[in-house]
């Protein structure tokens, strides 16, 4: 189509006073937005190619570049915002479903931002984490309902297999294929150094990463890619992925173009074939079916590995979680509607699912009421953005959180939301050799370790302020939370009081 109605979304502003025409912007832009015009010795830019990933901005040695939203406006209309108009034009040109990368960016409430933490004053004095011990270690999995003794009165160890983590945080599922080999290496090495776990996603486990098995959660999803007994037995835990926060109710599709070399081998599918993960597991249509898969996986691994069932936070999440807690699963992972993805239909990402804070509070409450909370640990994800979100999630009843978007940001991701193009300028969501080498794992893993260690310090500070010296004492401690600007219904679902109460 010769004519496009869409004006570039961003404008690359170049300060010609500072530009020394070193051309690093041109060399580093996989979208080929920058160009050097030798005749006039000048850099120019095609704004329509810019995805606002900030690679050029970050590498420009003289800070000559910045990117702004282009000022072009349609006639003011409170109903037809510019975004809706552009989307109509895009679909009228392409005839296709709109695709998006990363999490839901729309203006829905963020409940974490409407919850405040407590601190001790006078009575129950605060604890200084620099001077006194502060425990962030946690353990995940089912807990035995009662103590059993043998005929001599000695304790029988009836503890199911559990995961031990140095802090209540794990890297959530991102497949090898959706992200690069180097990104996986960063996550695996960081998880090992930090004493936490990362997750393979549905892409299998590359041979090189079997050495990190004790820090790996291996995922089994609807496509069953890369699943075999060695894989299952190598991980510290197995995750059955039923759903994903960014796209509840739909499956996944890694285009054949990305199924090359090691990725094809690791996924155990032919090169060039599309990797299609169906929306449902075709063998799971009930909790009883789920129970069969849970026990099949336990059987393969000799009942040595905890099984996680991951679901998206949807309207009836409490009933689903209640079923999962009775299915034999050891851990429930719930992914909120802000959760990230490499690619999702925009409408699904932006309109399906519910906030993780509400899902977490209501699941925790329901499992308590039904007396089955100890059957499972709860892990929540879907936009944990900083350490205070973790503290609030734990106080709402989570045992642990999952992060992925924040982890990728530590590796360089600038949330340009173009993962699905496969041309990630930061070497994360790409398989192009010249792009994936941009992420040197020696640098990336250290940045991840730095981020998580910084969060660990902050968590200790916040716990200390509340007079709490272990994560266990914070868990489900909703008295440490107060809502701000929330209505009665929201407060009652979250199970917290309003600030001032």
């Amino acid at each position: 189509m010769a004519l496009t109605f869409i004006y570039p979304e961003y404008e690359v502003i170049r300060n010609s006073e500072r530009c020394i025409t070193c051309r690093v912007c041109e060399r580093q832009c996989a979208n080929e937005a920058h160009e050097f015009l030798a005749g006039i010795d000048k850099m120019v830019c095609d704004d329509s190619k810019c995805v606002n990933c900030h690679r050029c901005v970050s590498l420009c040695p003289t800070h000559a570049l910045k990117i702004t939203k282009s000022g072009n406006t349609y006639k003011q209309n409170s109903n037809w915002g510019g975004k809706y108009i552009d989307e109509i034009y895009k679909q009228a040109e392409s005839g296709g479903v709109l695709l998006s990368g990363m999490g839901n960016p729309e203006n829905y409430p963020v409940y974490f931002d409407k919850i405040l933490l407590n601190a001790s004053q006078v009575t129950n004095p605060p604890i200084d984490p620099l001077r006194e011990p502060m425990e962030t270690k946690i353990s995940l999995g089912a807990k035995p309902q009662n103590i059993k003794r043998d005929k001599d009165g000695k304790l029988i160890n009836n503890l199911p297999p559990r995961l031990s983590l140095s802090m209540p945080l794990m890297f959530s599922a991102m497949s090898y294929g959706s992200i690069s080999y180097n990104a996986h290496e960063c996550l695996a090495r960081a998880a090992k150094e930090l004493g936490i776990l990362y997750n393979t996603g549905e892409g299998g486990l590359h041979n090189d990463f079997y050495q990190y098995g004790d820090n790996t959660i291996v995922q089994v999803a609807s496509g069953r890619f890369g699943v075999h007994p060695d894989y299952l037995n190598t991980g510290a835990a197995i995750e059955i992925k039923m759903g994903q926060g960014a796209k509840p109710g739909i499956g996944g599709h890694l285009p054949g173009a990305k199924i090359v070399g090691d990725i094809s081998r690791t996924r155990m599918i032919p090169e060039g074939s599309d990797a299609i993960s169906p929306a449902p597991h075709h063998d799971i249509y009930s909790i009883e079916d789920l129970r069969q898969l849970v026990y099949s996986l336990k059987e393969v691994t000799n009942y040595q590995k905890p099984v996680i069932v991951k679901i998206a936070a949807v309207h009836n999440v409490t009933a689903i979680a209640s079923g999962i807690a009775r299915s034999g699963a050891d851990i429930i992972a719930i992914d909120g509607f802000r959760g990230g993805t490499g690619a999702a239909p925009t409408r699904i990402r932006d309109h399906v699912g519910i906030p993780i804070e509400l899902a977490l509070a209501s699941v925790d409450q329901r499992l308590r009421e039904e007396g089955i909370r100890e059957n499972v640990s709860i892990v929540v994800g879907g936009s944990i953005r900083q350490s205070a979100d973790i503290v609030k999630a734990i106080a709402l009843g989570a045992d642990c959180v999952y992060i992925a978007t924040a982890a990728l940001m530590a590796l360089g991701c600038h949330l340009c939301r173009s993962c699905y193009t496969g041309k990630c300028n930061w070497g994360i969501a790409t398989q192009m050799p010249e792009l994936k080498k941009r992420l040197n794992p020696d640098i990336g893993y250290q940045r991840l370790v730095n981020l998580i260690n910084a969060w660990r310090h902050e968590i200790k500070e916040m716990m200390g302020g509340m007079g709490i010296n272990s994560i266990e004492s914070l868990k489900g401690n909703r008295l440490m939370l107060r809502g701000i600007g929330l209505n009665e219904k929201e407060l009652s679902i979250l199970g917290i009081r309003h600030a001032g109460e």
Partner: protein
């Protein structure tokens, strides 16, 4: 001795090393002011072909052909770093012809130029190493 090593696996061919090298030489505080409108002549250069790229600079060879061949004694080795005495250099370019790595180049000031490991910088870390965004250029001691 610490030397500049290059790992082509991580070299992006972004050429920032060349610009940081040229900037370091100017002793200016602001890169834009220092290099605006100037065609740089850095002591480190990126070689690239077919998607492979790496930076080349003086390796400070143990048995350095450039030092051997220098007709005026302008090139000398001091504490394992090969230095150029600009006063003595007569620009005969024998060193440029004899260097197997192409790491020596002519300059505008009547003498050849080559990497001296930023021995005169405050931090002691070569500018190309500091400026490399992907740790493709490192400054370290290696055995053998």
């Amino acid at each position: 001795m610490k030397r500049v090593y290059v790992n082509e696996k991580w070299c992006l061919g972004c050429r920032l090393c060349e610009y940081y090298c040229a900037f370091q030489e100017t002793k200016e505080s602001d890169m834009a002011r220092a290099l605006k409108g100037i065609k740089i002549n850095p002591r480190i250069n990126i070689e690239e072909k077919n998607g492979i790229s790496f930076a080349v600079s003086c390796r400070h060879c143990e048995d350095a052909l450039c030092v051997k061949g220098c007709i005026t004694g302008a090139l000398s080795k001091k504490e394992e770093v090969i230095l150029i005495d600009k006063e003595r250099c007569v620009s005969c370019y024998t060193c440029i012809l004899s260097c197997p790595y192409g790491a020596i180049s002519p300059s505008q000031d009547g003498a050849i130029k080559k990497c001296e490991l930023c021995t005169d910088s405050a931090s002691g870390i070569p500018a190309c190493v500091k400026g490399c965004p992907n740790n493709a250029i490192v400054f370290e001691e290696r055995l053998g």
